[in-house]
Symmetry: D2
Subunit: 388 residues, 4 copies
C-alpha cells in the first residue's frame, strides 16, 4: 500500500439518519474524545426529507444537512462518505463516491443483489489502487471480546478448530399480529433473518477463524406467512428463520441458526468455537464477556473462564474507563470509525473490505440456492480477495 | 389395556453390569426407599464373567448372579428383565424375554440395526396384547425439569411452537491421541455421536412437543479419522459430530447438533423451545433448572425465569428432599424404574415404548441417508404407533 | 417549587478533567443527541494545568478552557457548574457557585468532612429557595435496571422488605506491591472503600427502598498496611474493606460489604432485596440485567427472572437503541445530566439532593464511630430533609 | 493413633428416621455400592413410634427396628451409633454410646446447649483414647467442589486470604402466615437461622481456611414475631436471620449472613474466598460447580473459571459416574459415611470431630452474646483441640 497524504481535517458526510445513521453519527461524534485519530469534521448529514434531516443533523452533531447526496459527493471539502441508507441504494452511492475519490464506509449488507455487490467490489478495487479506501460495516468485528477471541485463535490457543456453533436470535417478529413492513418483502429487503442477522454470524466465523467457506447447505422458513397490512393481510415473502451449515477450507464445520421469532432472545448473537486445545463462547447480550476453556491447565482446575473484557490489556479498552466499567453495543461503531480513520491515515486498506462483504453475500446466495434444492450441499467458488 | 394381576413380589433380573448396569442397579436398589411402588426383589444380575458379575451383584444389591441369560429368562421367579447389555445383544434378549412373558426394560438405543429394532417392536406389540409390558430407557424423559417443560408445553403456555434448538455436546474425544475403542467402529457401535447422544436429543424433542418428524436432513463428520490402536493407527468409522434438521408434523422445525469433541462441554444436553407465547431452555449440566420465558406478563418484567425444579409441586420431587436440595443425574433412572413398575402394576403400557425407540431409529437412519446424499431432505413415513 | 424561567441556552462549565471529568463531559456531549433537554452549551472546562486542560477541553467537546474556577463562576454566560474536582475542593467551589446563583452538580462524595458537607447543604437550601438548584452525582440511581427496581418496590411488588444484602467489590488493590497514592492516605482521601464505594451501595439502599437509616454498626480493615512509596514503604491509613449493618426505619435490615481487594471482582456493585412477596438482585458488572423473583405466580413456575432491561418500556431506554442492544456504564451519567437539566427547566429540585449526600455521610461517619468502638451499634439522628 | 482391629462386619444402628434419618439411611444403603469401605450391616433403625419406625426401617434398608435406643446401645452386634434424633437428645445418647464403646456419628448441631456440647466432647476425648471414634455431621465438608476448594487453598493457590463472604439463604419462612412450629421456639430449637444454617457456613469457613476464630460480632433479627399456632397467634422466639462478622487468627475477616426469609433462595449456601493470588466462589444450589479466579495467568485471559467438579480427578468423583453426570445433595452424606468408616478401619480420628462441633457452638454463643450487647465484638478463647 502506498501511503497517501490526507487532507487535514478530513471532511465527513453521512447518508441516512435512521437507526444506523444514529449509530454511525454517535461514533463520529465521540471517537476523537477517546481515540487518537486523524483530524476530521462531521460536515454533512444527508437525507431525503429536508426538515427531518436538518433536525437530525443538529441533534447528532453534524455541521450541515443536505438532501442531494450527489452534490455532496462532488464537494471538495468532503473526503469520506459513510453510507447508512437502505441496502438498495448502496451500490449507486458507493460507486459514485469511490469514483469521485471519496473513502467509503458502507453499512452491511454490501448490497441487496449479488450483481450490485460485484459492481461495488470492482469499484472498490479500482479506487484502492488510487489510494481511495473502502470498508463494510460488520461492526461486531469491533466487539472487544470478539477481537480478543480472534487473537486467542490466531495464537493457536484453541489448537485445531473442529466446529463452530453460531446463532443470531431475536424475537421482534414473535407476535403473529405485528404488522407488515418493507423488511418483510423480498423486493425491498432481499431476505429476512438470513441477510439481516445470519450475515453477521457468518462474517464473524470468517473473522474469528481467518478461514474460507467451500460448501454450504441451508434451510429457510417463514412461520408467519401473512401479516396485517394497511389494506388487509399481506404475504410475508422473506424468511423468519434460517439454518445454515458451512464447510470451511480448514476442515472445520460451522452451523448457523438465525431467527427473528426466538421468543425471549433480544439481540443474542451466540458464538461457540471448539478446538482441540480449547474453546470459546460469547453472547452479544453480554458483550463485555468472553468465556474461554483452556485444556492446557490441569484437568482438576479446567473450566470455562468468564473473562470480563474490560481491562486496559484488552482490545480497544485502554481508551475507555477503568476495569469493570462496561461498555455497550454502540461502542462497536466507535471502534469501527477509529479503525477506518486510522487505516486511511496509514494508507492501508481497512478491513473488512468490500470483498469480505461480497464473499458473505455469495454464501448467503448459496444458502438460498440450497434451500430451494432440498437443502443439498452447494459448492462455493474460491472467495474473492482484495488482490483479485 | 387389561389390568393383569401381578405376582408379589416381582422378581427382577438385570443383564449387564458396566456403566448402565451400575446406573440401573442403583435405581432398583433405591426406588422403594422413595416411591410407593409394587413389591419387587432384586433377584439376579447377569454377566459373562462369573467372578466379576458375582462381585458386581454383591456390590449393587442383587441377591444372586448368573452368566447365562437364557436360563434366567426361563425362571418362574423372574418377571422383569432389565437389559443393560451392549446394543447388538438387545434384540435377541428382548425378543426371548418378551416371548417368555417377562416385562422388558431395555437401554437405548433399541438396537444397532433397523431390522432388529423392527423385530423387537413386533415382539413388544404381541406381548403387550398379552399384558406383557416393555419400555425403552430414554431416561432424560424423567428429568423433573424436562417433565415440567412437557407439562408447560402441553398446557399451551408456549403457544404455537416455531422452532427448537437442541444440542448434545460432550468432549471426551477431543484429544486426537485418545485410543481406538469398540465405540469408534461402525460394526460394533452402529454410529457415533448420532446414535449415542443425538438420539437422546431427538427423543426429547418428540417427548416435549408430542409431535412427529416428517422430514430430515443431516450431516456427519469424523474430525479425527485415525486413532491409536493396540497395533498401530486404526480407522475411526463412526462420526464425531452430527448436525440434523427436522421438520415436524406441526410445522415446527428443530435443529440438533451432537458432538463428542466440543471441548469443555462434559454432558451438555441443551434444549431451547421457542413458541409464540413463550420459550424454555434447559442444560443437563444444570439439570435441576428450567428457564421459562412467559410473554403474557407485562413487557417491563419479562425475562427468562430460572426455575429451580426442586419443589414438592414439581414432577417426582415430592419423593425426595426439601426444596433446594438438588438431585443428580442418577435420579432419572430411579424415576424411570418407578414409572415402569407403576405401569406394570396398573396394566398400562409404559412410555416410551419400543415403537418410540424404533421411530427415533428411523430418524437416525434418515440422517445417515441424507448425509450420504449431500444433506438433502429425506421424507419419513408416518411414525409407528403402539396400535400398529 | 417556583418555576424560574431559564436562560436559553444554559451555559455549562465543568471543573476537573480526570476520570470523572471525562465521564461527565461525555454525558454533556451526548445528552442532547438522545434526550429532549433544555438548550445548553458546553462552554468551559476548568483545570489547574493550562496546557492539559486546553487539550482536554478540545478532546471532550468544550468550547473553551480555563484555570481559575472563581472567574468562571462569575461569568454571566455560565449557569451551571459541574464539579468533578477532588472531594476536598467540593465545599469551597459549590458554596461559591450556589451563592453566585449557579446551579450545581457535584460528584460524590459530597465532601471529605461532615462539616464541609453541612456547609454545602445549608448553601444548597438557601439557593434552592431562590430557584437555584443542586444535585449530587450518585449516578447509579440512573442505571435503568435499578430505576426499574425502585419502581417495582414502590409498587409494592416485593411486599414488606425484610432485608437487603449489598456489596461493592473491586480488586485493584489486591496486589500488595501496588504503589502508595493519595487515595490511600486519610488526609487526602477521607476514607478508603467505605467512602469511595460503600457510599454508592448505601445510597442505593436508600434510593431503592425510600427508607431512612436509624442505627449503624460497622467494621473497617486495612489488609495491606504498608505500600511502596517514592522513598520507601509508607503507611496506608484508609480501609481496604468495610462491613456495615444498617437498621432502617421500616424495620428492614441491610448489610453492606465493600472491598478493594476482592480478587476477580472488577466493579461489582451487587444488590439483593428480599421482601415478603418477592425479591430482586442486581450486579453492576451486568448492568443491563435485573433479576426479579415474584412469588405471586404459582410455585411450580416461580424463579428469578433475568429481565434484560433494554426495552422501550424501561426507564431511559426509549431514547437509545432497539431492544437487546445493551448500554454501558457511561450512560448513567448521560441520564444524570438529562434529569438534572429537566429538573432545572421545570424549576424542580433535582434528586438526589445535597441533603441526600449529607445523610450518606452521616451514615459513613457512624460506621467509623462504630468501627472505633468495637463495632457497637450507633444511633443516628433523623435524616436531614430538603425542607430542613 | 492406635489402630484397633475392627469386628467384621460392623453393625450399625441409626436413631431417628425423619429428614436426617432418611438422608443418613440413604448413605448407609448406598456407600458400599460405590466406595471400598469396611464391611458393615444396616442393623437397626430406632424411633419412638413402633409402627412408624418399623415401616421406615423396611423402606430405608434396615434389617430391624427398635424403640429403645438404650438397649440397642448395649447390643454386642452394634458397633456404630448414628444419631439423627433432635438436638436436645444428642448429649444423652452420644455419651452413653461412647461409654458403651460404640463409634458415634452425630448430626449437627452437636447439642442445643454449650454445657451438653462440652460433656459430649469430653466423652469423645476419653473414648478416642480407647480407640472409639466420633464425628459430627457437617456434611457440606463432603461436597466435592468444597473439598477441591480446600485443596486449592491448602496448596496456596489463593495466596494470603483477606476476606470471606458467606451466606446461607433460604426462604421457607417468607410467608408470615406459615404456621408456628417447634423450630421457632427457643426452648426446643435453641436458635433459628443462626444454629440451623449459619452454623454450616461457619464450619465451612473453618474447614476451607484451616483457621480459628478469635473475635466475633453479630446481630439477630426476627422479622415475623408472631405466627399462627393451634390456639391463636404465638410468639416466635428464635431469629429469622443472622449477621455475623468473624476475625480469624490469620488476620482474615469473614462475614456470614443467614436467612430463612430470603425470598427465592431455596438452599443457597454461598461462599466467596478472596486471596492475594486468587479467589473462589460456590453456591450449594449448583453444588457441582466451583468458580476459581487465578491471577497468575496473564491479565488478558483472567476470569472466574466455572469448574464442573465432576471429573475422576476431583475428590470423591472417581466412585460415581462419567464426567458431567452430576451428583446431588444427598451424595454428601454418602461421602461422610465413607470417610467415617474409613477412619474407623484405619484407627484414625474422623474429621470433623466433636471438638470442631463445640468450637462452632462457642462461636454461635458469642454471636448471641454480641447481639445482646449492641453487636459489640466479643473475644473468643482459644479453640478446643482434639489433644485437649
Amino acid at each position: 500500500m502506498t501511503t497517501i497524504p490526507q487532507p487535514a481535517p478530513l471532511g465527513v458526510a453521512a447518508i441516512g439518519y435512521a437507526f444506523m445513521g444514529k449509530a454511525h453519527s454517535n461514533a463520529w461524534r465521540n471517537v476523537a474524545s477517546f481515540f487518537d485519530v486523524p483530524a476530521f469534521e462531521q460536515k454533512v448529514l444527508v437525507g431525503r426529507d429536508a426538515g427531518a434531516v436538518a433536525e437530525a443533523a443538529a441533534k447528532y452533531g453534524w455541521a450541515e444537512s443536505a438532501t442531494d447526496w450527489r452534490s455532496v459527493i462532488e464537494r471538495d471539502d468532503i473526503h469520506i462518505i459513510d453510507i447508512c441508507a437502505p441496502g438498495w441504494m448502496h451500490a449507486e452511492i458507493a460507486v459514485a463516491a469511490l469514483e469521485a475519490g471519496k473513502h467509503v464506509l458502507v453499512e452491511k449488507p454490501l448490497a441487496n443483489t449479488l450483481g450490485e455487490a460485484e459492481l461495488m467490489t470492482a469499484a472498490a478495487a479500482k479506487a484502492r489502487a488510487r489510494g481511495v479506501q473502502s470498508m463494510i460495516g460488520f461492526n461486531y468485528r469491533r466487539v472487544p471480546a470478539l477481537a480478543l477471541a480472534r487473537e486467542l485463535i490466531a495464537e493457536d490457543r484453541l489448537g485445531t478448530i473442529r466446529h463452530v456453533r453460531a446463532a443470531y436470535l431475536q424475537d421482534w417478529l414473535t407476535d403473529a399480529e405485528s404488522p407488515m413492513s418493507w423488511r418483510l418483502r423480498k423486493e425491498t429487503a432481499g431476505s429476512g433473518a438470513l441477510g439481516d442477522i445470519a450475515s453477521h454470524a457468518i462474517d464473524q466465523i470468517l473473522y474469528l477463524l481467518g478461514d474460507d467457506v467451500i460448501e454450504v447447505s441451508g434451510r429457510l422458513q417463514t412461520f408467519v406467512d401473512q401479516r396485517p397490512g394497511a389494506e388487509g393481510p399481506e404475504d410475508v415473502t422473506v424468511d423468519d428463520a434460517a439454518w445454515v451449515n458451512l464447510s470451511l477450507a480448514s476442515g472445520a464445520i460451522a452451523s448457523v441458526e438465525a431467527s427473528r421469532v426466538a421468543t425471549g432472545r433480544k439481540n443474542s448473537l451466540q458464538l461457540e468455537v471448539y478446538g482441540s486445545l480449547g474453546s470459546l463462547t460469547f453472547d452479544l447480550e453480554n458483550l463485555n464477556e468472553l468465556n474461554f476453556m483452556d485444556t492446557t491447565v490441569p484437568v482438576r482446575e479446567q473450566g470455562f473462564r468468564r473473562i470480563l473484557v474490560n481491562e486496559p490489556e484488552h482490545p480497544y479498552l485502554g481508551a475507555w474507563w477503568p476495569q469493570g466499567h462496561i461498555i455497550g453495543w454502540e461502542h462497536t461503531f466507535t471502534h469501527q470509525v477509529r479503525d477506518f480513520l486510522t487505516a486511511i491515515a496509514a494508507g492501508d486498506a481497512p478491513s473488512p473490505s468490500f470483498e469480505d462483504g461480497l464473499n458473505v453475500q455469495h454464501i448467503l446466495a448459496a444458502v438460498e440456492e440450497s434451500a430451494a434444492a432440498k437443502s443439498s450441499l452447494i459448492q462455493l467458488n474460491a472467495p474473492v480477495t482484495e488482490g483479485a
